[in-house]
C-alpha cells in the first residue's frame, strides 16, 4: 500500500540481493532450463560415446566437456539474471559489437573444420561460433533501437535495426549459414511484430521471404539439395534424416531401452542436430514429450509474463529472446520429424556444443533478467496521471 501512495519503484530497501533475486526470478523457467540441461547431459551419455570412440577419445569425453560448458553456461545465466535490465542492455550491446566484429573477421581468422562453411574460430581447446553469441546481442540491440524509435523525437531505430539485420544476414549467408541467417531475420521480424508492425507490411515481408527463399533455392546448391530432400515424398533411409525418422519409429512410446539405441552409431550428428532422435529411440515418446513441454513452458511463460511488462525495451528484448529460444527447438525437432526441411540447428541446452550452450545460457540469463517480477505500477500510474 505504501508503494501506491508514494508512487515510487517498489524496492524493499535493504533487502539482500539473493533473496530478492529468488523472490522475483521466474522459478518455473529456471527449473525448466535446469531440467533441459540435465536431459542434455543424460542424452549426451548415450549419444556421444560412439563419436568419441571414432575420434580416439575416452567414451565420455564429450559428456565431460558438455558438463564443463554447461556449468559455465548456468553460471553465466544466473549472474546475468541478477543484473538490472539496464545492465543487461549494456552487456548485450557490448556483446553484440564484439560478436559482430568476430563474425566480420571470420573469413580471415575462421576455420571450417572441413564441413564446408567457415563458421568457427578455433581457440585450441575449444571452438567459438560467433553467430551463436551474436543472436542474444542482436535481440538486445534490435529491441533497444525499436523501443527508442517509439519515443517522441526518437531515432529511426526500426530502419537502423533492419539494416543491421540485413548486414548480418549477408555475412551469415556468405559462410554459408542460412539457418542462423534466417534466425536473425526471424528475431527482427518478431520484435518488429510486437512493436506494432502494420499488417500490410507484414504481408509484404512474407512475400519477400518467399522470393528470397526461391532465389536461394535456385542459386545455392547447398540449399536446394536440402529443400529437394524435404519435398520428395520418399525418404532415403541412408541419409541422416532417414536414420533419425527410423529411430523415432523404433523408439515407440517407451523407447528401446537405455543404451540399446542404434541411431547414435549411424548418425554423425547424433549428439548435436539429431539428439532428439537419440532421445526418442532410447527413451521413447515420453521423454520427447517432456522435452517439448519444457520448451513450450519456457516460451509461453515468458511471453505471458511479458504481456504485463510496461517497458517497451524489456518487452521487445524478452520477446526476441524467448522466441529465438523456442523457434530453435521447434526447427531442430521439426527437422527430425520431417515437418521442416533439413537445417542444422542445435536443440538449445540439450545438443552438444560449447558455443551453443554458453550462448544459450547468456540468452536465458537475459530472458530471466527481463522476466523478473517488477511492479508495473498499474494502479499507481493511473493515479499519477489523474493528477496530471
Amino acid at each position: 500500500m505504501t508503494e501506491m501512495v508514494h508512487g515510487t519503484v517498489p524496492i524493499r530497501v535493504g533487502e539482500p540481493v539473493l533473496p530478492r533475486w529468488w523472490r522475483t526470478i521466474d522459478k518455473v523457467t529456471l527449473g525448466c532450463v535446469l531440467a533441459l540441461f540435465g536431459i542434455g547431459i543424460l542424452l549426451g551419455l548415450a549419444a556421444s560415446p560412439p563419436l568419441a570412440m571414432d575420434n580416439g577419445k575416452p567414451p565420455f569425453y564429450y559428456v565431460e566437456r558438455q558438463a564443463v560448458f554447461g556449468l559455465a553456461s548456468l553460471t553465466a545465466m544466473v549472474v546475468i539474471s541478477m543484473m538490472t535490465p539496464r545492465s543487461v542492455r549494456r552487456l548485450g550491446v557490448l556483446g553484440f559489437i564484439a560478436a559482430f566484429a568476430l563474425l566480420a573477421a571470420l573469413p580471415f581468422i575462421g576455420t571450417d573444420y572441413g564441413k564446408g562453411a567457415v563458421r568457427w574460430i578455433s581457440l585450441g581447446f575449444a571452438s567459438l561460433q560467433p553467430s551463436e553469441f551474436l543472436k542474444p546481442g542482436f535481440v538486445v540491440v534490435a529491441a533497444w533501437l525499436m523501443a527508442a524509435s517509439q519515443e517522441i523525437h526518437g531515432p529511426p531505430g526500426r530502419s537502423i535495426s533492419l539494416v543491421l539485420a540485413l548486414v548480418i544476414v549477408g555475412f551469415l549467408a556468405a559462410q554459408p549459414d542460412f539457418g542462423q541467417a534466417s534466425l536473425i531475420l526471424f528475431i527482427w521480424g518478431v520484435i518488429w511484430f510486437v512493436a506494432g508492425a502494420p499488417f500490410a507490411l507484414l504481408a509484404t515481408m512474407a512475400a519477400g521471404v518467399i522470393v528470397a527463399g526461391t532465389f536461394a533455392y535456385q542459386n545455392s546448391e547447398h540449399f536446394a539439395r536440402r529443400i529437394d530432400g524435404f519435398l520428395s515424398s520418399e525418404l532415403d533411409p541412408t541419409t541422416q534424416l532417414g536414420y533419425a525418422t527410423n529411430a523415432i519409429i523404433e523408439g515407440g512410446f517407451f523407447g528401446v531401452g537405455v543404451g540399446e539405441g542404434q541411431v547414435k552409431v549411424s548418425l554423425p550428428d547424433a549428439h548435436t542436430d539429431f539428439i532428439i532422435a537419440v532421445a526418442a529411440e532410447e527413451y521413447g515418446l515420453m521423454l520427447v514429450l517432456v522435452i517439448i513441454a519444457l520448451y513450450a513452458l519456457v516460451v509461453l511463460r515468458s511471453l505471458m509474463r511479458l504481456t504485463r511488462e510496461r517497458d517497451t525495451f524489456i518487452r521487445l528484448a524478452g520477446t526476441g529472446l524467448a522466441c529465438v529460444f523456442g523457434i530453435q527447438a521447434i526447427i531442430n525437432m521439426g527437422v527430425a520429424v520431417r515437418l521442416l526441411p533439413a537445417k542444422g540447428m542445435t536443440l538449445p541446452f540439450v545438443s552438444y556444443g560449447g558455443s551453443s550452450v554458453i550462448a544459450t545460457g547468456i540468452a536465458m540469463g537475459m530472458l530471466l533478467a527481463f522476466t523478473r517480477s517488477r511492479p508495473q505500477g498499474e494502479i499507481g500510474d493511473i493515479l499519477i496521471r489523474r493528477r496530471g
Binding site: P50, D54, Q150, E151, I152, V190, F193, V194, A195, G196, S232, E234, L235, D236, P237, T238, G242, T245, N246, I248, I249, E250, G251, G252, F253, V265, A280, G284, L285, V288, L289, I292, Y295, A296, V299, L300, L303, M304, L306, T307, E309, R310, T312, R315, T319, C323, G326, I327, I330, M333, G334, V337, R338, L339, D381, I382, R385, R386, G388
Partner: protein
C-alpha cells in the same frame, strides 16, 4: 484497458500549449518544463497503448508457439505410434534391378541363367572379435590375407566388402564364425551352366552398381553386353533371349576344333557353322577359350589377339588366301566373262610390272578351264580373271558380299573388327585380292560371303538370333546358275582338288582351301601359315556353310611338315561335318558318282 480510455483526451494536447506558455512566460518560468511534462504524459499514454497492442500480439505469438510445439509433438506421436519396419532403399534412387533374362539356344536350352547367392560384407563397428573373424575368414577363403583383413577390420572403415559372391557352404562357414559384424547381402549371379561352351558368344557378366541388398548384373562382353539393355529390361517379362546357337552342334564344333588344334599344333583356331539361307550362326568357336563364369581379366601385356578373350572368329582378321578365289570366279561368271569350261591362260609366272605372280611350289598349269583354276587353286588364272574384271567392279562385288565392312553380328566386339582393306585399290591390289592377299577379313566374314554366294545367290546377314520365320531373302548377289556352278566347282575341289580330305560320304561337301603365309615384321613368314577351309554342304542342296581357320598349324604325320590347308584345316572341317551333319538333321544321300556325271554330260 482503462489507461487507453483515460488518455484518450490528453493525447491531442499540444506539447507547447500557447496559453500555458504565455502564462508561464509572464510568470518568468521556463516554458520548456511544460513541454517536458507534456512529453512525459504523452509517453505514458503511448506506452499504455503500445502495451495493450503488444498484449494482443504476444498472445498471437504464444498461440503460434503453442501450435508449433503441438505440431512437433503430434508428429512425434504419429511416428512413435507407427510400426517399425526395416529400412529399404527408396524408389527415388532408381532401384537396382537384379533380374536378368536367361539366354537360351535355338531349342530353348539354357546358355546363361541366374543363380541366387550371397555377398559377404563386414561392418567393423559391429564386430565383437575382429582377430578371430579375420583368422576364420582367412581359413575359409584361402586367398584372403589374415593380416590385411585384420587391418581393415580395426581401421576406420565402417563398411567393407569381403566377397562379391560366396557358395552356400562358404556362407554356412561364415555363419559359424558367429560374428555380428559379418553380414550377407542377397545377390543374383550370372551362371553359365555349360562352362566354356560358346564362351566367346556369350561373353560374360559382372556386377555393376551394387549395394547391400542387391547388385546389378551387367554384361561385359559378347551377347551379354550387346543385349544388355534387352536382358535387363523388365518390360520383356523375363522372356529369354533366344540365340541361333545349337548347343550340341556348338559342343561338337568346339571338341573337334580343339582336337584338331592340338593335333596340328596350332596356336589358335576358329570355326563358324552357319545356315546358308538365313545367315543364322549355328555354332561359332574360337580357341583358346575361357570360362565365362570366371572371366579372366583382359591381358595388360602382350598382343590382345593372343588372349583367350579374343574371339578369333569375329575379331581376328586374317588374309584368308585362296578361299577368295571363288569370289573372282563367281564374279567372272556372273559378268559373263567366263563359264566353268572357259579356258583360262594360267601360264606361270605372270609378270605385272615389277611383281611376279607364281603358283604354289612353282607349278605351271598352262591353259586350263575355269573350273580347274579353282580346283588346282591357280593364282595366275585367278589374277588374269581379276584383271579382266577390273578394280572397281571387284571392289563393288566384295563390298556387296560384306567383306569391306565389319560384320553386323550381334556381338559387342563385332563393330570393332573391321576388315583390313587396301587404301588404294590399284591393279596389283586387284590381282592380289583376287587370290586372298592384301585384304584381311574375319572367318565370320568369309562364312557370310560364302553363304551369300552358294545359297542360290542371295545375300545373307550373319546373325546370332534365332528367328522362327525365315527372313526376307537378301538382295541377289549372283544368279542361281552361277551359284550352282560355283558349288559344282567347289565340289570338284573336294572330289579331285586340294580339299580331298574334306570328303564325308553322304554329305557332298563342297569347299575351298586357303593357305596364307602369316605376315611378319619382314614380309611373309614361310613357316607360319593361316590355313582355311570354307565350304558348304550338301553341295546339291546348300544347307550349311562351314569355315575352319587354324593359326600356325603344322601336320607332322608325313615325311616333312605340311602347313597347307588341305592337310590341316580340311580334315578338321571334315570331322566337324561328319559329326555335326547327323545332329543337324541333314539326310545323307548317295550322290551320283563323278563318272556317272561325266557320262551324262558326254551324252
Amino acid at each position: 484497458m482503462k489507461a487507453g480510455d483515460v488518455t484518450q483526451g490528453t493525447i491531442r494536447t499540444p506539447l507547447r500549449p500557447l496559453a500555458r506558455i504565455l502564462r508561464a512566460r509572464e510568470r518568468g518560468e521556463n516554458p520548456d518544463a511544460i513541454e517536458r511534462e507534456n512529453i512525459r504524459l504523452r509517453h505514458e499514454a503511448m506506452r499504455d497503448r503500445a502495451r495493450q497492442r503488444a498484449e494482443g500480439r504476444l498472445m498471437v505469438l504464444a498461440i503460434f508457439f503453442t501450435l508449433a510445439f503441438m505440431a512437433v509433438g503430434g508428429r512425434m506421436t504419429i511416428l512413435a505410434a507407427s510400426d517399425p519396419h526395416e529400412p529399404e532403399v527408396s524408389d527415388r534412387l532408381a532401384p537396382i534391378t537384379a533380374r536378368r533374362a536367361d539366354i537360351v539356344d535355338r531349342h530353348g536350352r539354357v546358355l546363361a541363367t541366374n543363380l541366387v547367392t550371397h555377398s559377404l560384407y563386414a561392418q567393423p563397428p559391429l564386430m565383437t572379435d575382429p582377430e578371430r573373424a579375420a583368422r576364420e575368414l582367412a581359413r575359409i577363403f584361402p586367398d584372403l590375407d589374415e593380416e590385411r583383413l585384420l587391418r581393415r577390420f580395426t581401421g576406420r572403415a565402417k563398411f567393407l566388402w569381403i566377397r562379391r559372391k560366396i557358395s552356400p557352404e562358404q556362407m554356412q562357414a561364415v555363419h559359424d564364425i558367429g560374428d555380428p559384424g559379418l553380414l550377407f547381402g542377397p545377390r543374383e549371379m550370372r551362371l553359365y551352366p555349360n562352362g566354356r561352351l560358346a564362351a566367346h558368344v556369350l561373353g560374360g557378366a559382372g556386377f555393376g552398381r551394387e549395394d547391400v541388398s542387391s547388385a546389378e548384373v551387367v554384361g561385359v562382353a559378347g551377347v551379354e553386353k550387346a543385349f544388355d539393355d534387352y536382358l535387363r529390361d523388365p518390360a520383356n517379362g523375363g522372356a529369354p533371349l533366344r540365340l541361333s546357337i545349337d548347343l550340341p552342334i556348338q559342343s561338337v564344333v568346339e571338341r573337334v576344333l580343339e582336337g584338331g588344334m592340338r593335333l596340328m599344333k596350332a596356336k589358335g583356331a576358329a570355326a563358324v557353322l552357319m545356315e546358308a539361307k538365313t545367315g543364322e550362326i549355328v555354332a561359332m568357336a574360337s580357341l583358346p577359350d575361357f570360362d565365362p563364369n570366371a572371366r579372366p581379366a583382359p591381358p595388360v601385356s602382350g598382343s590382345p589377339a593372343d588372349s583367350p578373350l579374343f574371339n578369333r572368329a569375329v575379331q581376328g582378321v586374317y588374309e584368308l588366301g585362296s578361299t577368295f578365289k571363288l569370289f573372282t570366279a563367281a564374279q567372272a561368271m556372273e559378268l559373263g566373262l567366263a563359264r566353268p569350261d572357259t579356258i583360262i591362260d594360267a601360264t606361270a609366272p605372270l609378270k605385272w610390272g615389277k611383281f611376279t605372280i607364281g603358283e604354289f611350289r612353282n607349278h605351271n598349269y598352262g591353259k586350263i578351264p575355269l573350273a580347274d583354276v579353282i580346283v588346282k587353286s591357280s593364282n595366275v588364272g585367278t589374277a588374269r580373271l581379276a584383271m579382266e574384271i577390273g578394280a572397281d567392279r571387284q571392289r563393288v562385288f566384295l563390298e556387296r558380299l560384306g567383306l569391306l565392312e565389319s560384320t553386323p553380328v550381334e556381338l559387342v566386339e563385332a563393330p570393332g573388327a573391321r576388315p583390313l582393306v587396301p587404301e588404294r585399290w590399284s591393279e596389283i591390289t586387284t590381282i592380289t585380292v583376287s587370290y586372298g592377299h592384301g585384304l584381311a577379313a574375319s572367318p565370320l566374314h568369309l562364312a557370310a560371303a560364302y553363304a551369300s554366294l552358294l545359297n542360290g545367290g542371295r545375300r545373307v546377314t550373319p546373325t546370332l538370333l534365332h528367328r522362327d520365320t525365315p527372313p526376307e531373302p537378301g538382295p541377289r548377289i549372283v544368279s542361281e546358275e552361277v551359284s550352282a556352278a560355283a558349288r559344282a566347282m567347289l565340289r570338284d575341289v573336294v572330289v579331285r582338288g586340294t580339299a580331298q580330305l574334306a570328303e564325308v560320304p553322304g554329305y557332298a561337301v563342297a569347299g575351298k582351301t586357303g593357305t596364307a603365309d602369316k605376315p611378319s615384321e619382314r614380309g611373309y613368314a614361310e613357316d607360319k601359315t593361316i590355313t582355311t577351309f570354307a565350304g558348304v554342304f550338301p553341295a546339291h542342296d546348300p544347307a550349311y556353310v562351314i569355315v575352319v581357320v587354324l593359326d600356325e598349324p603344322v601336320d607332322t604325320t608325313g615325311p616333312e611338315p605340311r602347313r597347307t590347308a588341305g592337310w590341316t584345316a580340311v580334315p578338321v572341317a571334315a570331322e566337324i561335318i561328319r559329326r555335326a551333319a547327323p545332329l543337324l538333321g541333314v539326310p545323307p544321300v548317295i550322290e551320283p558318282r563323278p563318272t556317272d556325271r561325266l557320262t551324262l554330260t558326254s551324252n
